[in-house]
Amino acid sequence: MGFEINGKTYETDEEGYLVNLAEWDEDAAKHLAIEEKVEMTPAHWEVINFLREYYNDYQIAPAVRVLTKAIGKKLGPEKGNSKYLYELFPYGPAKQACKIAGLPKPTGCI
């Protein structure tokens, strides 16, 4: 499975997550967002970039609870709460945002 943008192919697993993290780029993110029916705004990108950094630091996709807390610490309490994150990613911030960020499905994601 996978998709193609401007001649570049991106391989995805059966749930639509990118197989190769290194293939991720903004075009891929935009495509994955459309598939998830998420309209990307600067607020969305902020979370996506945060996740990319988190993965780079720790080599895992965080669980929702951990993501929420970590965002609160870095971007402030008005963003570090599940209401804010679920408004941006209605089908689950960890799951949807991780997919758009090109990360694997979070460990322990229910």
């Binding site: 630091d57 895992i60 669980a63 609870r65 951990v66 209401k83 679920y86 689950g92 460990t107 322990g108």
Partner: protein
């Protein structure tokens, strides 16, 4: 944490039945899948708000060694993930003193802050646990 939409509130489900879990890591990080699997179980267990301790003994102390270069063995270096444990509220990390010393390591060689315990102290710690899982 309160979930306004979706999600499962684990705190409600687990309240009143917090058990003491110890995960013992005894194997080198690469060559077998034990270390990585143990780490994944630990991360999942964090969702259930239990009292989790991690113990590193024997070759398991190598899991926490700084500067792991894994390219040649074709595996992802997952040692940075141990530094994420704090964010998962897993803060009880113990290393067996004898194992560490036998391998010429000190606490400064490790990627995370740990408490170093002698074998006897470690035995007492394990005695207190409700569940002990060995990897």
């Amino acid at each position: 944490m309160t979930e306004s939409t979706g999600g499962i509130d684990m705190e409600d489900e687990a309240s009143g039945t917090i058990k003491k879990f110890a995960f013992i890591n005894r194997k080198a990080p690469y060559g077998t899948v034990y270390a990585l699997e143990a780490l994944e179980v630990v991360l999942i267990s964090a969702a259930f708000d239990q009292d989790v301790s991690l113990v590193f003994a024997d070759d398991g102390v190598y899991q926490l060694k700084k500067g792991q270069a894994t390219k040649a063995v074709g595996m992802k270096n997952f040692s940075p993930t141990y530094r994420a444990l704090e964010g998962y509220d897993i803060e009880k990390l113990y290393v067996e003193k004898e194992s560490m010393e036998a391998r010429g390591l000190t606490a400064d060689d490790l990627v995370v802050d740990v408490e170093v315990l002698g074998a006897a102290e470690l035995a007492d710690l394990l005695e207190e646990q409700d569940v002990v899982l060995s990897f």
